[in-house]
């Protein structure tokens, strides 16, 4: 037995044994969230491959275990791509893992998030039933939007097996421009580009350098270049940034991410990297929990940590009301608590 049937059997058995499972794709995101000890591992890695791809539909249907890079190569060969820059931490990172973790790369503010491009999902539920939510068309408002709910749920609601994703034409030209400037000038520059129709598709400020990526046809890129002086940079920078492979990431043991209003002050935090037009901020090896005393409106994620350092929740704690809704949703999808228990919040195995 293999594929969906095998998943269904394993899941039913986990339920009847009361033995929870850890769902694992390429295993490249084990650092994100809690992984309880002693779980059986259910891997989706062998469940790979493209199920349906007609470039003129702008939709690809793919098995969750398909490596992001394999999918990307296929789409690029047809002059298309996933718009949200899905981060591939290494060659084994799967598209199912990216969607389950709800990860979007540098293009997020300009082309949308993973969830914005997820049109439908086929899932194996706690009782082994295979269910399809959303669809394989651009517009679909039948039923609650379960596929987007599953995106970013870290596999706590069910096993994500098949995904239908919107794809877009790849730009004719991509160009990275860098310039040295202060953080204030960098923020204003990005804002200036956002306030008009421009070819901006990524932005990052780090170590006194602003990098931006321009994407579009030649005229569009040229038009934006005319209002943005700088030096030619390397397009490979963005993949490294999204995969957290830049040296600054690699050298840190405790990586914090603040996701907030792009306009929020930097306060006293010594952010090493500010991307997404200053809406995503990275803090490395803080001496104490940066959530303590934080006066902004965003939320912090402890993306990687060294267990010998201070204790802190991985994800921003939810309000009591939000938590109660989460708990009820979790028990609707997973009454026996068998899927990735505690991956997001240890309390009540969420």
């Amino acid at each position: 037995m293999e594929g969906i049937d095998a998943f269904a059997e394993s899941i039913k058995k986990a339920g009847s044994d009361g033995s929870p499972i850890q769902i694992k794709g390429g295993g490249t995101k084990g650092f994100l969230g809690y992984v309880a000890e002693g779980l059986q591992v259910l891997t989706t890695q062998s469940y790979a491959g493209v199920l349906d791809y007609h470039p003129a539909e702008l939709i690809v249907r793919v098995r969750a275990g398909t490596p992001v890079r394999t999918l990307d190569n296929l789409l690029r060969s047809e002059g298309q791509m996933l718009a949200f820059d899905p981060p591939a931490h290494d060659a084994t990172s799967t598209i199912g893992g990216v969607v389950s973790a709800g990860l979007s790369g540098s293009a997020r503010p300009y082309r949308g998030a993973a969830r914005d491009h997820l049109l439908g999902a086929g899932m194996v539920l706690h009782d082994g039933a295979y269910c399809e939510f959303g669809g394989q068309v651009m517009k679909n408002v039948a039923g609650y939007d379960v596929s987007r709910l599953v995106c970013g749920a870290y596999g706590t609601l069910g096993l994500l097996a098949d995904l239908s994703l919107k794809v877009v034409p790849a730009p004719e030209l991509e160009k990275t421009i860098t310039r040295e400037c202060s953080s204030d000038v960098a923020r204003e520059t990005v804002k200036l580009l956002c306030n008009r129709v421009s070819s901006l598709s990524a932005s990052c400020y780090s170590g006194g350098t602003l990098s931006v990526r321009l994407s579009g046809n030649e005229q569009a890129v040229k038009a934006t270049e005319e209002i943005l002086e700088g030096n030619l940079g390397d397009n490979a920078f963005w993949d490294q940034l999204d995969a957290q492979a830049l040296p600054a990431f690699q050298n840190a043991v405790d990586v914090w991410r603040l996701s907030t209003d792009a306009d929020e002050p930097l306060f006293d935090y010594d952010f090493a990297i500010l991307d997404w037009g200053f809406a995503q901020r990275w803090l490395f090896d803080p001496k104490s929990d940066p959530r303590v005393g934080y006066a902004g409106s965003g939320h912090w994620t402890r993306v990687r940590h060294d267990k010998d350092r201070f204790e802190a929740e991985v994800f921003q704690p939810l309000s009591a009301l939000e938590f109660e809704l989460h708990r009820r949703l979790k028990s609707t999808f997973d009454p026996g608590g068998i899927f990735n228990p505690g991956r997001m919040y240890r309390k009540e195995g969420l």
């Binding site: 007609h54 003129a56 609650y144 995106c151 956002c194 038009a223 306009d263 809406a279 939320h299």
Partner: protein, 484 residues
């Protein structure tokens, strides 16, 4: 008085004095845009403040009285059809744009603000709100969230869910919850996405922060005529295959073209069998190249005329015919029945041919006006409601079209929602397990089932009954607004 519980009315009146209980005035609210589905509400309440909405909701929950939220009542699937023994919560007074933040290009608005009013409020800043359902002059942003509304610019700019950053929602217990935020994500499950298209069944939207976009510096609208619908359909696929992403790409067939032309005189090619309207936008210098690329695709698919409008007045005139197509069709037949299925784009030519065949089978004319690039069909079935047999045929015709959409891998509703209208067809699209999850989600938010009961998600027993009866659709509707 439909609700005769004097104690309940008294407690409601203690929250707000703006209550309607007399039948004459209740009749104003008896339906939404699906006018054939009528029901007098038990009582209408028109609150002014979020606190009142909270108190009303909590009261309804404690008394287990159904509560139906309503924006402008322009919905096409009966999502805001009142409940006879319930409260109709009219959000009309929540009509203010509260804040425009030019720095993050966002606007904080109340849910009763109309879709178009948002764009008008920020127009002088060079900004606009992208989703544009054609009822945009009247429909409210709260209703847009409830239905996850689309419009002609979806392919490039997305649906409502892609353009809303934050919601304030009153839950059935009266609690106020914020979902989303001014950043690009939030911790936990994506409740912001879940609220979109939930048809007022999970919570009541009381405030919305929308993302605004800068207006494109250059816009062109191409009008192209074809000698058959197959060529036009193939041109649509050709444009996408060529790596082009138009802001809008719409198709009309001969009957729709002629109806629109005689109604508004937009300058459409009346002799053509099909027509495409293609809007392109972009930064300066980008447009010429895009137009030439589209021209190459259209010409290779046998387009017979190709004209480009740059001028804002000319563009407006071309869109006017398209926007007025539904009422224009309404002038050539006593009644029409508007469908809203979506199919994979590659099936366009096949499905259009199948609809033509069905038109012969049922001996009813059909006009096609639709979002070609999204594969979102709006066949308009022409009939006369005074002729009972025509009505029966129109219903059966419509049902066959929806079944066809599902067979081709599509959906029963692309943008109009399920409401009460397509609740039976939900049984065709989803199985028992999937419907079970929907009911579980509803129960997680609304344990007592007070919010908009009977809409959106059919009960399993209803599906069993529907299966036994095969097809039993509701009555037809006569929308009074132009629609896409």
């Amino acid at each position: 008085m439909p609700i005769d519980n004097q104690d309940f009315i008294k407690r409601l009146r203690a929250i707000t004095s703006d209550i309607i209980t007399d039948e004459e005035r209740l009749a104003v609210y008896e339906s939404d845009g699906l006018t054939a589905k009528k029901q007098l509400p038990g009582v209408v309440v028109i609150p002014d403040t979020i606190e009142q909405v909270q108190a009303i909701t909590a009261l309804c929950q404690s008394c287990e009285v159904p509560l139906v939220p309503r924006g402008a009542g322009t919905g096409l699937s009966g999502g805001a059809m009142p409940h006879h023994e319930g409260v109709l919560l009219v959000m009309a007074r929540f009509n203010q744009v509260l804040d425009v933040d030019t720095s993050t290009r966002t606007a904080t608005v109340q849910p009763g603000v109309t879709n178009l009013a948002i764009s008008e409020a920020v127009s002088n800043l060079g900004l606009y709100y992208a989703p544009d359902p054609s009822s945009q002059i009247a429909c409210t942003i709260g209703g847009n969230v409830a239905e996850n509304s689309g419009g002609v610019h979806c392919l490039k700019y997305g649906l409502t869910v892609h353009n809303v950053k934050q919601l304030k929602v009153v839950l059935p217990g009266g609690e106020l919850m914020v979902v989303g935020g001014k950043g690009y994500d939030t911790p936990g499950y994506d409740l912001l996405a879940l609220m979109h298209g939930s048809e007022g069944m999970l919570g009541i939207v009381v405030e919305v922060i929308v993302q605004l976009l800068p207006k494109p510096p250059e816009v062109a609208v191409i009008m192209a005529a074809f000698s058959n619908v197959i060529d036009a359909a193939n041109s649509v696929s050709g444009v996408i295959s060529a790596g082009l992403l138009p802001a809008g790409l719409e198709m009309m067939d001969k009957l729709a073209i002629q109806a629109a032309e005689s109604f508004v005189g937009a300058g459409y090619p009346e002799a053509a069998e099909a027509m495409l309207l293609c809007e392109l936008d972009g930064s300066l210098g980008e447009l010429e190249e895009l137009i030439e690329s589209v021209r190459a695709v259209f010409e290779s698919n046998g387009c017979i005329t190709f004209t480009v409008a740059f001028d804002a007045v000319e563009r407006e005139k071309l869109w006017l015919g398209r926007k007025a197509a539904f009422p224009a069709v309404g002038r050539i037949a006593p009644d029409y029945y508007c469908m809203d299925g979506t199919i994979p784009r590659r099936e366009l030519a096949n499905v259009l041919q199948a609809i033509t065949d069905l038109s012969h089978k049922y001996e009813l004319q059909v006009a096609n006006v639709f979002h070609a690039a999204d594969g979102n069909l709006h066949p308009l079935i022409l009939y006369d409601a005074n002729d009972g047999d025509q009505l029966t045929r129109a219903e059966a015709f419509g049902s066959e079209i929806l079944a066809l959409c599902l067979e081709k891998g599509g959906t029963i509703t692309g943008e109009h929602g399920v409401g009460v209208e397509k609740i039976n067809e939900m049984c065709l699209q989803f199985n028992r397990d999937e419907l079970g999850i929907f009911h579980g989600i509803k129960n997680a938010f609304d344990h007592y089932g007070i919010l908009n009961p009977g809409k959106g998600i059919p009960t399993l027993s209803r599906c069993a009954e529907f299966g036994a009866m095969h097809v039993h659709r509701g009555e037809e509707r006569f929308p009074h607004l132009d629609r896409f």
